[in-house]
Symmetry: C2
Subunit: 193 residues, 2 copies
């Protein structure tokens, strides 16, 4: 079978969206290995934001994440928040991508997240010993970047303007959902009292 | 339909094991509400350890957890670690029970865990605003009890001798699996080098 996306395929928004929607296990049937080297960190963040957009379209929280192998740049895991979709109190973008990757040695991988990680995900990232985390939005949320660096995880900030705009729109539309996702339903109740 | 477990049923090891194995959603068909008041904290910890034993029997990590509503004492979520069973780098006992409970206000609930919570689960417990955590084993692991208290979560220690023995046996049999579950595969690799 011929690869659908080859080393000659330009890195466009459409291609990045197709990659976001393809199951991770199928990527290596559709995409030639050399193509992965053409994707910059900024491009990979666009995939994380595409996944956030997918979740938003489903009525969920728009936060996505992508994990790549540092040496091959292949995508080994990706996903988005499923609080609404799976009725899951804690399946954040990062958790979802890590679960998609399965049991792996994450010490030579990078996790891209469309939004700054919460306390739980920050603990998950350093306890699973990721080499690096790339954060796409410290405008709508931030706080654990320094703590992650202190734990030995490299942290890069590559803000994605479309991701920031999407998250701000969602937060204005569904402030209670945003609060529940970060702090739990008790915080929502308290807020409404 | 008549309840199979009623307020007159004695709280025995067999009954607690049946409760551990029944799906949470089915408990309230099988068990009369008044029975839940008969179960002491120590009894509920036995259910968490039964779930740990179930996971051990499946070749997985023996850590279980149970969530109860503080006022009705009904079980609203339970589960066990599924690192091996689901190829999931982070579905600890606590996560599994929280996912089983679904989106809930956890501020009037208690989570029982057969083993002291790791950094990730400790963050999950305070961010989801649990009222109380009961820890069944601080012999094989400990460390986050004080941090949880500082975050406003009540912490009780009710050690379960059979749970402690089971975890110690598992750790002696599968030290790499224990290390991976807590620290990730990179720690296992480093340990073998």
């Amino acid at each position: 079978m011929r690869y659908f996306i080859t080393q000659d395929t330009p890195v466009t928004e459409d291609v990045l969206t197709v990659i976001a929607y393809l199951p991770t296990k199928s990527l290596h049937v559709i995409i030639e290995d050399k193509f992965f080297f053409k994707m910059s960190d900024r491009n990979i963040m666009r995939i994380a934001v595409s996944l956030a957009q997918k979740s938003y379209n489903e009525g969920g929280c728009p936060i996505g994440a992508v994990i790549i192998d540092n040496s091959t740049r292949r995508i080994i895991g990706k996903g988005h928040n499923t609080l609404v979709q799976d009725n899951d109190p804690y399946n954040h973008g990062e958790t979802s991508a890590i679960r998609d990757a399965g049991r792996q040695d994450f010490s030579k991988t990078t996790i891209f997240t469309s939004l700054s990680p919460c306390d739980i995900c920050a603990a998950l990232i350093y306890m699973r010993q990721f080499d690096r985390v790339v954060v796409g939005d410290i405008t709508n949320a931030s706080g654990n970047e320094e703590a992650l660096r202190e734990k030995g995880v490299k942290v890069d900030i590559i803000e994605d303007p479309m991701g920031i705009e999407l998250y701000a729109k969602y937060r204005a539309e569904k402030p209670e959902l945003d609060l529940e996702d970060w702090k739990g339903l008790a915080a929502v109740r308290k807020n409404l009292e």
